[in-house]
Every structure is written in C-alpha cells, then in structure tokens.
C-alpha cells in the first residue's frame, strides 16, 4: 500500500530517508528588477520516490515556471531565481552548473509538455527525437537506441512503431503525438516524470486515453510524478497529493482525498465551488469574484485577498506562509483556523430550478439536412478533388427559450454549423428556418433581419475583439452597422449593455488588451446583445477562460437568458459545464448529429456508444469516484472529415460496431420515454444492451 | 626572355572588328598593319607594308611598292592582292564600314557605293608587289591624311567571307596579320594576348608578348597601374584622371606625363537652328562669361591649353585672335544687346561623365548663371546624343572632337551643311579656305589658308572654343621605350602613333 506510505511520509520514522526531490523556498522573477513579474514566490514542496503529486492552479499561477526552473529550462535572462534550493538526491539543481544538470535532465527527471504538436521538433523524424536522448545519456549505438525507442512506442500504444519512426510530427494526430511525447520522456527511465498539462490541448476522449496511460505507466515503472493541471477534477482520480498554486505561491497542499473533503484555503474552496457537480442537483455555480491576480506586484500580501470574501486588513498587509493544518495538509491563509469548516458551498448559494420555463415545443430555429462542404482543390488545374465535409447532414431544432448544447470533439463541425446558421458560411445544402422563415440563402434585407435576430459569442475572447477598437466601439458596432438609433441613443445603449454584462462604465474606453479574459468575454457578450437578438449562438465561449472565471460567464449567460428571454445554441466540449447549463443536448460526431435529447436523458441514459464514451471520459471532481468509475476509452483518433468512414461515421472506433455499421448510415430514431421530449439517436445498435 | 608588357585598354568592341569600330585600332598597330603608319613624332607618315610610293601626277595617282618577303602570321606570303582586297573591303557598301569615307576620294567610289560597280575602279595591282590607286582629283596629302587608319587584311582568309558577314566574324577574335605580334588569345572583356612575331619585317620584337587588359571603367585601371597589374595607362579613357595625378606622381616606378596634348579642341556646341543662338553676340557673350583660365588652373589642374579657335596646331592658328578674356560685364552687355531672355532655361547636353568633366560643366553652369544664362545640364550616352543630334532636340552642349593630326580634319564640324555636327553653320569663305588647305602639300600655303580660317572661326564662334584638351599619361618604368616615345611625341593622336617601333621596346632588366 504505497498510498498510505506516502501519506504518512513526514512521520518521524521516515525523516532519515529524505525525499527524492525537495524544493525549498523557490522564488523566480522575470524581467528587470523593479519591473518584475513575480512568477514564483517562496514555493516549497517535497516529492518522495514513486509519489504522485499534482500541482493545480490557473493560467499564469507559476506552475510551469516552477517545474521548468527545477530543470534549468527557463531562459536567463529574463528569468532569475531569487531564492531557494531544489535538492535532488542531495544535489541542488539550482546551483549545479548546466553541464552537470544536463545529465540529470532527461535521464533522472523527464518532462512531458502541454502542447504535443509544438513541443516536438517539426523538422526531425520522431525516431531521431526519441533516440537522441538515449544516445546522449546512455551512449547507445543507433541500433540499440532504436530498439529501446521501439519498445517504448509499443508501451505507449503506437501501432506499427517501426515504420512510424521515420515519420515527422505533423503526420500524427494530437493524441499520438502526446503518446510519443510520453515515450520520449520515459525512454531513459527517469525517476521523476513531470507532466506539464499534457492533456489540455487534447480532445476529451483522447485526454482520457492519455490520463489512463500515464497513470498505468507510473505504476508500472514505479517513478515519481508531478502532474500539472488547471483542472482539479482531472487529477482527482489518480494522484496522491495535490498542491494548489495561486499567483506564484502555494496556497494549499494536501492528500487528494483530504483536499476534496476538507479544503481549507478560500481559493481552493472557491475553485471547487465553481466546478459544476455531475452528481449534485442543479445548484447555481458559485464563481470566484474578481479577476486573476496581478503578478507584477511584489508578493508582500495575500494575493488572493482582493477576491476573497473573508479577507481582512492583515491579508492585505502580510503574506501568509504555509502552515500545517493536519499532518500532510498545509494551507497558506491567515484565517484558515477561523474558516476551517466553512462549507464548500457558501450559504449564499441558491438552488436554482433549471427546468425550462419557456413554452416547450415551439421551435425558434429549425435546421434540416444542413451540409457545409469545403472544396479541396489539387493538381495543375486546381480542380476540385474532394471536399471537407465539415457539416454533413445535420438536423436539429432549437425551441424558444431553451439552451441547446452542441457537443463533440474538435473538428467535428460544431463551429461550422453555428456559422452556417448565422449566415457566415454558405450552406451547400439544407434548410435553416428561423421563426418560420428560411434563411439558408438569405441575402439583402433578409440577411439583415437575421443579423438582428441572431448573434454569436465567439470562443476566443481575444481574437474575436478587434485589438484596435475601444470596448465602446466594439459593443456599439452592430448598432452602427444596422443604423439603429441616433448617436446619443447608441451611446446610452452601450452604457446599458456594459452594466448588463457587469462591466464598469470607465472600461468603455479601454482596448481589449487592457482587459482580463473574463472581461473580454463580457464585451463579446455585450456586443452580441446590442441589437436585442432573440437567439444567441455561443461558440465555446468559456473554453479559453480560467476555471474560476468560467463560472462567472456561465452565470452571466444564465441570468441574461432569464432576464431577456434569450434562446441559446451553446457549443462546447466541457461536458460537465454543458450538463449544468443546457436544457437539451445534441452530440455531434464528424459532421453528423448522433444523439439529441434533453440533458437529463442524454446524460442519464446515453444511448449512442459515442455519447457513452464521451460521458465516461468526463473527469469527476471526486477522488473516490476515480477508482470506481469505468471509463470507456475509445481507440484511435478523430478521423479526417474529408475522408469520412463509410456507413456510420463512428464505426471504426465503436466498441459495438458490427458489419452493418460499415455499410449503412443509420437513421435517427426516437427513444424517448415520454412524448414531451424526444431522445433521438442515430445508431444501429441504440437501445441494445 | 623578353617579358610581358601589360597595357590597359578601355574597349569592349574587339569582336566587332576593325572595319566597324573606332576603338580597336591599337590592336591593328601590333597585329595587323597598314600600308603606312603615322610616325610617332606626329609630323609624317612612315612606310610599313608599302616600302615606298610615288605620285607621278601631283597627287592624283599613287603607286605603292610593297615590301618583299612579308608573310602573314599563318605563313602565307603577303601580296598586292591583299591590298586591293582590303581597300575594297573598306569601301564595300555591303560591309558598311563607317570608315569607308576615307576612300571617298578614290576613283569609282561613288559607283561602288551606289551599286553600279562591284569594286573600286581606282584600285588595281600593277604586279604582285605593286598597287596603284587613282583618285578623282589631285590630293597631295592623301596618304598622310586618309591612309593611316586603313589596315591591310589577309585576302586568303577574309576573301572567303561574304561582305555582309564580315562584321562580328570569328576572324576578329583570332586575327591574322603581318605585324610584330601574333594574335594568341582573346578573352571577352578580359584581355587580348599577342605573342612575339620572330619574322617581323622590321626585326623581331624584344618583348615576348603584350597583354591588352580590357577595362570598362577608369578607376580600376588606376588601381591596376598602381598595383603594377598593368604597365601603361595611355590614352585610354582620357588618360589619367586629373584627380589621380598627384597620387600616381608619388610612385617612383611610374613615369607620369602630366600635360600631354591630346590635340583635342573642346567647345560649347550651339544649335544654331535655335534663334536664340543665331546672334553671334550671344555666342561671344558665353565665352566672355566663362573664366576659362580659372577652370583650367583649378578643375583641370593646368591640364588644358586655352584656345580661341578650332585648330590645335600652332602653325594653323593666326596670332591676332580675339582672346575672349573673362569679362562677365561684357558678356552681360552683349546679351542685353542681343535681347537675351534669361528666364528661359537652356537645355545643355554633355556626355563625358568623368569627374573632371562633370566639374567643368558645373563650373560652366555656374559662370553662365552669373550672367543670366540658365543652362540645365543633361548627361547623355552616345546613342542618345546621336539621336538628339539627328532630331535637333538640344540647345547647347559641351563637347570635344579629336582632330590633332591635320587642321583639315576639323572641317566636318564647321563646313556648310556638315552633318551631323554643323548644326546649320555655313560660311562659304571658310569652306574655300579648307579646300585650299587640302589642295597643296606646301606647309606655307596651307598655313596661310588655315590661319585665315582660324580668324573666321574665332570671330564667328560657330562653336565657343574653350581649350585644347590635355591628357595626362602614366607608364611603368619597367617597359623601356614606351614612355620615351610619348615624351618626345608632340601630341597624342588618338592611338595611332604609339605602337610604331614597338618591336624595340623591352622590359627593363
């Protein structure tokens, strides 16, 4: 029982052994002193042999810098280690010369990076990239190194490894690349593996594969692991200990069960609260108020204080240090003792009835047989040789006043669908009816009408705002474009909208780069609302935001819906969030919708094998569930929409596929138990046991 | 072992051949030869392939006795046939040589030109080694004036080439001649290498070979002279740029001849078709306005001889010419009298783009501006200038024409109807005087005629005479004989004279 061992590792009898890695008081700054970014402040933690530790925190909280400093990977300048030690087997990684550290890197401590595509060298074969570390550290011959690399590729599940060694990174899918990244890290059998958000850039189903793989390899190879993530639920399932970071400082560390059961630091509590629970009833999300911290300020106070409900003057004057709460559990908060036992969900939380209040069954938008194909041209004459079937026959309805969620993996055609509805993409085929009017080929006046009635909130809160326009102009753009109102009335309307989305008036003259992610997204929402649309397409409006901010936006969308009687088409891939906010769900796979139904029925009794796999891959913010939940891990990667598989698009990855699936595309069938809400599934085997 | 003489050569037109270019003659002095060459002393011609000649009728018929025992470089004997062939080649309209005018006085030239005859009637062999040339009228100085730039070609080689294919024929890059050096190698835009001809009829040369190194631009020649990559900077490109003189004079291995007369009158050109310049007072005013002495002393660093008429030869100039000393007030007065409108700019063309000449134009512009003549200099290349001449689309210009050898060579600039350089000037009296000069071999008679002509030219200023050009030359002392030749030469007559006696030059031990 290793877990118990590590949990009790700081009991007196264990002291003599010493941890494998001991980080003490590490501080890192960037930039010139006086104008520094205080990226890491006085961080200390230990890692025992074979232990698995998660470092969790939001973007910019210093997670990557912490581990990269250990490996001597930050660039100096501009980086500076201002204090601390990092003892690895007794040697201080921060002071030994780079020539020595080099022998530890890759051999004793290895690392997997966030974005598999960009962390592999695009111009070298993966064979070379896999073997070079072996040859460097173990002096192996090319042959020997290749054999070992091959073994490792097999281990991480790359089929046909021998041949694939000659391929270049761009010839692999994201999931495969991350496997290669893992193989590369493991190839020298390091004693510590650092995984820096290795799944963030991946699709949900692929993410599940990777998490599974790393957890298995860690056990098999018996190494210690530091897993960095911004997603508490993701790590809940498979690490032993969690360290929570905020603004460069560790705010809480605890064994994983204890952290979930008895979070102590207000930030940790806030984080947990802002995660929608899969199991709990529909309670309103409790976001952490305010914006992410400013790391340009010297760390002389509690960085969380500005956002903390419990902050007192002391919090703003001095920085708390990590204090043990119980053995193995420490928190850095002046008031933890007083707050201890404060419930995770504060009393303010209201249970909301999320059942749709609108009149059901009156369709606002009907999409029928929508196809959007992008031509592929090749050859001397640029003839069209095929098409990317981004959307390949999609039909759905959005009922007035409801939120329909469109979910599916990256590239399955969600955004294209949304854009086609909005008229930003010309459909190749199909019907788009809004309030009974067909908009598929709308132009001129009709298109203008559509502009007023439908709007979109975009995924990327930075890319969707013109960096050279002020907030006020951005929000007012639609009004100007459609010549609504006078200049003065438009100004008034902008003020109104600012208030509506919770932005202060002075922000109107700011430029997007002067705003935080959450504020930017509010601007995006305000812009969409300017013309008082009835219907809003929200294309992954929260996926680029920090966890603690996501809840703010979701709540905002929810409020607006209630106040303005809006209807949403919500595009997303974060299933727990979707479950929380949607009335009905449509699951998309490779240009087609495979399952539609009320949120309750789809999440409760998923019928399509793909939906089931998707749902099972949702990380659960509960360490206990981690062990018991059975994940359906899909094989293979997301296929290419220009060459969709025959018959049912899903059949090559489907655990239930039979011969008919490859031949015949299944027809949608209704499996609803009541007449009120349909539950349509497009699968030959739906409903089978 | 006689060593190598490296001579700079600023030309790229070797491939076109002697018959079509003005720039390849130097090679003909060492490889091909003529019947006669001008003596390096500049005052007479010297027999070459013609051992002697006589004219029984005072200049109408010439009989040339050719040199015996001369062989072409390929071993074929040289005979009278080659001479007849060559003179016909120059005159052949199908060849289209710009030099054909040199034979314009030969009987039958007109007929040959207009196609009614297939050769020059006036040229025939008397025997294998004797050639007779008959002219239309008596020209006592014909040999001295017209024959010097005519080369003799091997009939046995070029005779096989159709006349229209002569230009650019392979022969020109692999010449076979009778001269002291044998054509060895030509590398386009790099050099021509010629080797010693042990059988040369005036005696085997002492030098082993001569390499003519080709340059497009002057500064590289100066650099090469300084680094001893070439031995001679003679006439090429106007000689040594004035600005580089001091520098070269400091080098002890060079002999620099700083004031070498080029026999080259330099003048301001007027387009007399333009009414503004038809008034002689305007032309005179221009000359009064320019401080030529200052320009020569400073910009040209003394490299120029003030001149007030066309002829560079002292004997051809009257002593009582109006000096046109610098007098801006007089210039203004003359202009005022002529009703000059200073507001109108004057288009002023020139084509010498070297620094000294550009500076000179600058100075002229400045002087003229001071008296209210606003010239706008415009640099043109030869093709453009000829176009401008042909179209008459210019008003003034700054030019020079080489006519050092004989005053008569100046006639194309000033006689009535001269094309393209006359620009409308005509004075019957002047034309008569030129004819008088040509009709006699007597220096006294000729001097009288030319001096009278010089007075007219001085007074009427069909062109505003500025000065006679001086060209500094520089040679490496390594080559014995070369610098001496030039030192004793009265003026550099383009590049004709230089290579007489080249067989006697040697590399210093």
């Amino acid at each position: 029982m290793r877990r118990t061992d590590t949990l009790t590792r700081d009991r007196p009898e264990m002291v003599g052994q010493g941890p494998l890695l001991s980080v003490q008081g590490l501080s890192v700054e960037f930039g010139p002193s006086g104008n520094s970014v205080y990226a890491v402040n006085d961080v200390s933690f230990d890692l025992a042999e074979g232990e698995s530790l998660a470092i969790v925190g939001e973007s910019g909280s210093g997670k990557s810098v912490t581990v990269q400093t250990l490996m001597g990977l930050i660039r100096k300048p501009p980086g500076r280690v201002t204090s601390g030690r990092a003892l690895f087997r007794g040697r201080d990684l921060l002071t030994i010369p780079d020539s020595e550290l080099r022998h530890i890197r890759g051999r004793d401590i290895a690392m997997i990076f966030q974005d598999p595509m960009s962390s592999l060298n695009p111009v070298l074969t993966i064979g070379l990239q896999l073997t070079e570390a072996l040859r460097e550290h173990q002096g192996l011959s090319e042959k020997q190194a290749e054999r070992q690399a091959l073994d490792m590729l097999d281990l991480v599940g790359i089929a046909n490894a021998a041949q694939r060694m000659q391929a270049f990174p761009h010839q692999f899918s994201g999931g495969q690349l991350q496997r290669i990244g893992i193989a590369m890290a493991l190839v020298c059998k390091p004693s510590i593996l650092i995984a820096d958000e290795p799944t963030t850039a991946l699709d949900v189903t692929i993410q599940a594969q990777i998490v599974e793989l790393v957890a298995r390899l860690q056990k098999e190879l018996g190494m210690a692991i530091i897993w960095i993530s911004h997603d508490l639920s993701l790590v809940a399932g498979f690490v032993e200990r969690v360290a929570v970071m905020y603004a460069g400082s560790l705010v809480e560390t605890a064994p994983v069960e204890r952290l979930f059961a008895a979070p102590t630091h207000p930030y940790t509590i806030g984080l947990l609260n802002s995660i929608p629970s899969l199991t709990a009833a529909n309670t309103r999300l409790v976001p952490i108020k305010g914006a992410p911290p400013n790391v340009m300020l010297p760390p002389t106070f509690c960085a969380f204080a500005p956002r903390c409900d419990h902050a007192v003057s002391r919090c703003r004057e001095a920085k708390p240090v990590l204090e043990p709460v119980v053995s193995g559990h420490a928190a850095a908060c002046w008031r933890w003792r007083e707050l201890h036992g404060v419930s995770r969900v504060p009393a303010a939380a209201v249970a909301t009835d999320r059942a749709s209040k609108a009149a059901p069954n009156e369709p606002l938008l009907t999409v029928f047989g929508l196809k959007v194909h992008f031509p592929i041209r090749r050859g001397v004459l640029r003839r069209q040789v095929g098409a990317v079937r981004a959307v390949d026959g999609v039909s759905f309805e959005v009922l007035r006043g409801e939120t329909l969620a469109l979910v599916g993996e990256s590239g399955c055609g969600k955004s294209t669908t949304g854009r086609a509805v909005l008229g930003l993409e010309r459909p190749s085929e199909g019907e788009i009816r809004f309030e009974g009017k067909d908009y598929a080929d709308a132009s001129g006046e009709r298109a203008k009408e559509r502009r007023r009635d439908m709007q979109m909130v975009f995924q990327n809160p930075f890319g969707s705002l013109n960096p050279r326009m002020t907030v006020g102009r951005i929000i007012g753009e639609g009004l100007r474009a459609q010549k609504i109102g006078t200049r003065a009335s438009r100004e008034a309307r902008v003020s109104e909208l600012l208030a509506l989305v919770g932005l202060r008036e002075p922000l109107r003259d700011r430029y997007p780069f002067e705003l935080s992610g959450g504020q930017r997204q509010r601007v995006g929402i305000a812009r969409a609302l300017a013309g008082s649309p009835k219907f809003i397409i929200a294309d992954e409006p929260i996926s680029a935001l920090d966890v603690s901010i996501q809840a703010q936006i979701v709540n905002l969308l929810d409020d607006l819906k209630a106040r303005l009687g809006l209807t949403y088409l919500f595009i997303g891939h974060d299933l727990s969030m979707i479950r929380y906010l949607s009335d009905r769900v449509a699951v998309m796979y490779l240009g087609r919708i495979v399952e539609t139904g009320t949120t309750a029925s789809v999440f409760g009794t998923p019928m399509h094998p793909y939906t089931r796999a998707l749902l099972s891959a949702i990380p659960v913010p509960d360490p206990k569930a981690g062990g018991t939940r059975r994940r359906i891990v899909l094989g293979g990667g997301v296929p290419d929409p220009s060459k969709p598989p025959s018959g049912c698009h899903f059949h090559p990855r489907c655990p239930k596929a039979t011969e008919i699936c490859a031949r015949v595309a299944p027809e949608p069938r209704d499996f609803s138990s009541s007449n009120a809400a349909q539950h349509i599934v497009t699968c030959h085997h739906a409903g089978e046991a | 072992d006689g060593g190598t003489f490296r001579s700079a050569m600023r030309t790229g037109c070797i491939e076109m051949g002697t018959l079509h270019t003005t720039c390849g003659h130097r090679l003909d002095e060492t490889v091909l030869q003529g019947l006669v060459h001008i003596k390096w002393t500049g005052d007479d011609v010297q027999p070459m392939l013609a051992e002697s000649w006589k004219t029984p009728d005072g200049g109408k018929t010439y009989i040339f006795n050719l040199r015996h025992g001369v062989k072409w470089h390929d071993g074929t004997p040289f005979t009278a046939k080659d001479v007849v062939f060559s003179l016909n080649l120059y005159a052949n309209p199908k060849v289209g040589s710009p030099w054909s005018q040199k034979l314009g006085a030969v009987a039958g030239y007109k007929a040959f030109q207009d196609g009614s005859a297939s050769s020059l009637a006036g040229v025939k062999t008397l025997d294998d080694m004797t050639v007779q040339v008959e002219l239309d009228s008596a020209k006592p100085l014909w040999v001295q004036l017209q024959l010097i730039a005519i080369s003799i070609f091997p009939e046995h080689i070029l005779g096989k080439v159709a006349p229209q294919d002569i230009k650019g024929n392979a022969f020109w890059v692999n010449r076979v001649g009778t001269g002291p050096f044998i054509w060895k190698k030509y590398e386009s835009d790099q050099y021509v290498e010629v080797d010693r001809n042990p059988d040369y009829f005036l005696g085997a040369p002492k030098l082993d070979r001569i390499i003519y190194q080709i340059y497009k631009d002057v500064p590289p020649i100066i650099a090469a002279l300084e680094t001893k990559e070439v031995d001679a900077m003679s006439y090429e490109g106007g000689g040594v740029p004035i600005s580089e003189l001091a520098r070269l004079q400091k080098l002890d291995y060079l002999t620099v001849l700083p004031k070498f007369s080029a026999g080259l009158p330099t003048y301001l050109q007027f387009n007399l078709a333009d009414k503004r310049f038809a008034d002689v007072r305007v032309r005179q005013a221009m000359l009064y306005a320019i401080d030529r002495k200052a320009i020569i002393d400073t910009v040209k660093q003394g490299a120029g001889e003030l001149s007030n008429t066309l002829f560079p030869q002292d004997w051809a100039r009257a002593k009582d010419l109006e000096p046109y000393d610098y007098n801006p007030d007089k210039a203004k007065q003359l202009l005022a009298e002529a009703g000059w409108d200073g507001g109108q700019p004057v288009d002023f063309i020139y084509y010498y783009s070297d620094q000294m000449n550009v500076d000179t134009v600058t100075a002229i512009q400045s002087y003229l501006a001071a008296v209210g003549v606003n010239i706008q200099p415009r640099l043109l290349d030869p093709a453009a200038i000829n176009q401008v001449y042909a179209d008459g689309t210019f008003q003034m210009g700054f030019f020079a024409n080489g006519m050092g050898l004989d005053p008569s060579l100046g006639s194309p600039l000033v006689v009535c109807g001269a094309k393209p350089l006359g620009f409308g000037y005509c004075n019957q009296k002047l034309d008569e005087l030129f004819n008088k000069g040509l009709e006699s071999a007597d220096r006294e008679v000729r001097a009288e005629a030319y001096q009278e002509a010089s007075r007219i030219l001085n007074k009427e200023l069909p062109k505003a005479w500025l000065w006679n050009e001086v060209r500094p030359l520089a040679f490496n002392n390594r080559i014995v004989g070369l610098a001496q030749h030039f030192k004793e030469q009265p003026l550099v007559i383009f590049n004709h004279a230089v290579y007489n006696e080249v067989e006697k030059w040697e590399v210093a031990k």
């Binding site: 990977l73 974005d115 111009v123 090749r378 | 500064p219 650099a223 680094t227």
Partner: protein, 318 residues
C-alpha cells in the same frame, strides 16, 4: 509536388510572356538605336549608311514585326543576334553567365553562411555585448552601397595591403588556375556579400530568437542534450526555414548588384555585358539578358520552394 512544380512552370509562361513585352518595349523606347550608338565623330556616317545598317538589323520594320520576329527566335530556342557583333545572344550569354553565377553564387553562399552564423551567435547572446556589436555591425553593413564597399575593399586590400588583385577574373595571360581565380574572386564577392550577409544576419537572428522560444527547444533541453546539438540540430534547422525566403528574394537584387560590381572589378560576366549592351543599344542582348535573368530568378524561386519542402517536412505542395 510534381504537379506543383508543373503548375508553377505553367504559370511562369504567361509571366515570362509579360516580361518579354515589357522588356521589348523598354529596349526599343531608349533614345537612339544600335546604329546611332556606333556613330562617332571620328567616323561620321552618311544617312544612307545609317538607313542601310538599320535595314540590315531589321530596325526599319514596324515594332510589332520586330517583336514577333524576336519571339519567333525565342520559340526556336534562339535569342537573336547581337546588333553589335552579330554573334548569337544565347552564345554570348552562355559564355558569360558562368562567371556571373560564380560571383553571385560565392557571394550569396558566403553571405548566407557568414550572416546565418553571426545571426545565430547574436541570438544566442541576446542582449549581450556580442549581440549589440554584431547588430550594430549589421546595420552599418546594410548602410553601405555596393559600389562604395567595392571601392573601400580595393583601396584597403589591393592598394594598401597589396594582398589581392584589384580587378579581373584571373591574371591575364596566365593559364587558368582555380587558386588564381579565387584570389580575384574574393574582393568582388565580398563587396556583394557583405551587404547581404548583414541582411541574412538580421533575419537569422530574428528567426533564431523565435525558434529559441519554441517549446520544442525546451523539449530538447529537457532531454539533456548537448548544447551544440540543441542549437544546431533543433534550433538552426528550424531557423533556416524562413531564411530560405530571404535567400530567394536576394537573388534578383544580386543581379542588380552584380552589374555594379562587375563594372568596378571588370568581372567579365553578364552584368558587364548588359551595361555595354545598354550603351550600344544592343536590344537583342538587353532583352536576352533580362529574359535569362527572369528565368533564372523564376527557377531559383522554384528551387526555393523545393528547398522549403526539403527543410520543412510539413510543407507539401499539391
């Protein structure tokens, strides 16, 4: 790939066609013509002679006929004959092109190697003295015109130090030797190269800095590789990719530069030939020159594309 090349070549045809028209127009719009260019005061020509010579050269025909004749020649693989010496233009260019290519090739290669090396060093030493001095040196390098650089080099290395010959392609009259040729090549090539080395340096530095920030560089470092391997194998390979474009764009300017440099160093390449042709109004040579350089530039652009796909496996042309 093949289809891409084919397409590019096919597209090149109308482009070259356009080039011929423009070039023909320019060559014939110059004041004066080949016949006038040959006239000098020493050898005045009669109007009949001029007319005859024009007739011989076909200059008396209407322009479109002249153009069609020329195009006809081109389609037969000829480039016409020089007005000046009657030789085939293709032969003349064929004789001289190798010299120009030698000069340009060496200059470009030297500029590339030197520029890239210094750029990489500069990037690796960012914000240190080496970086600042190299950057400043580079800026000075891009501010000196070709011709003045040539003059300075001659002054220093040929006249003052007497290390190298001042002009020419080899010692005239000596039998050709590579060593001798290279000695002559150094100064003109350097005059052409220094400016471009400075440009390459700037791009290499920027490229390398960008690459240094890429996460695969971090990965390489995290693997504990030797610094030399990290810089060369992982860094340089990637930094070279954008440089290929700069390399391709340098070529047309190099033709222009070689006109100047060949004049200064009496390098008997096509640049020198071109200048002579302009003076002589030798339009077939002028047109041939521009056409050939356009074709070379075009082929070089294709080669750049190829190099791109070799250096960067992600690039696939279809």
């Amino acid at each position: 790939m093949l289809s891409y090349l084919l397409r590019k070549l096919l597209l090149g045809v109308p482009v070259l066609f356009g080039v011929t028209i423009i070039v023909f127009a320019i060559a014939h719009a110059m004041p004066g013509d080949a016949v006038l260019a040959m006239i000098t005061a020493e050898a005045p020509s009669s109007e009949e002679l001029i007319a005859m010579r024009r007739g011989e050269l076909g200059l008396d025909q209407p322009l479109y006929i002249q153009y069609l004749n020329w195009i006809g020649e081109i389609l037969h693989g000829n480039l016409g004959r020089s007005f000046v010496n009657g030789r085939g233009v293709a032969a003349i260019i064929g004789e001289r092109l190798p010299m120009t290519l030698e000069l340009m090739g060496v200059a470009l290669l030297a500029a590339f190697v030197i520029g890239t090396t210094l750029g990489v060093i500069s990037a690796l030493r960012q914000y240190r003295l080496t970086d600042y001095s190299l950057t400043l040196g580079g800026f000075v390098g891009v501010s000196i015109p070709d011709f003045f650089m040539g003059l300075l080099l001659v002054y220093v290395f040929a006249l003052e130090l007497r290390w190298l010959p001042s002009s020419g392609i080899s010692t005239a009259g000596d039998s050709f030797s590579i060593a001798d040729n290279l000695r002559h090549l150094i100064l003109p090539a350097a005059a052409l190269a220094l400016f471009r080395a400075a440009i390459f340096m700037r791009y290499a530095r920027a490229g390398m800095l960008e690459v240094l920030n890429q996460s695969y560089m971090r990965t390489a470092k995290a693997k504990g590789l030797r610094p030399s391997i990290i810089v060369l194998r992982h860094g340089l390979r990637n930094a070279l990719i954008p440089l290929v474009t700069v390399f391709g764009l340098a070529l047309p300017t190099l033709f222009g530069g070689s006109v100047v440099i060949e004049t200064i160093f009496q390098w008997p390449g096509i640049g020198l030939m071109f200048i002579d042709a302009v003076v002589n109004r030798d339009s077939p040579v002028i047109m041939g020159y521009v056409l050939i350089t356009a074709i070379i530039v075009m082929l070089a652009n294709l080669a750049t594309d190829l190099a791109y796909s070799v250096l960067d496996p992600r690039v696939s042309y279809d």
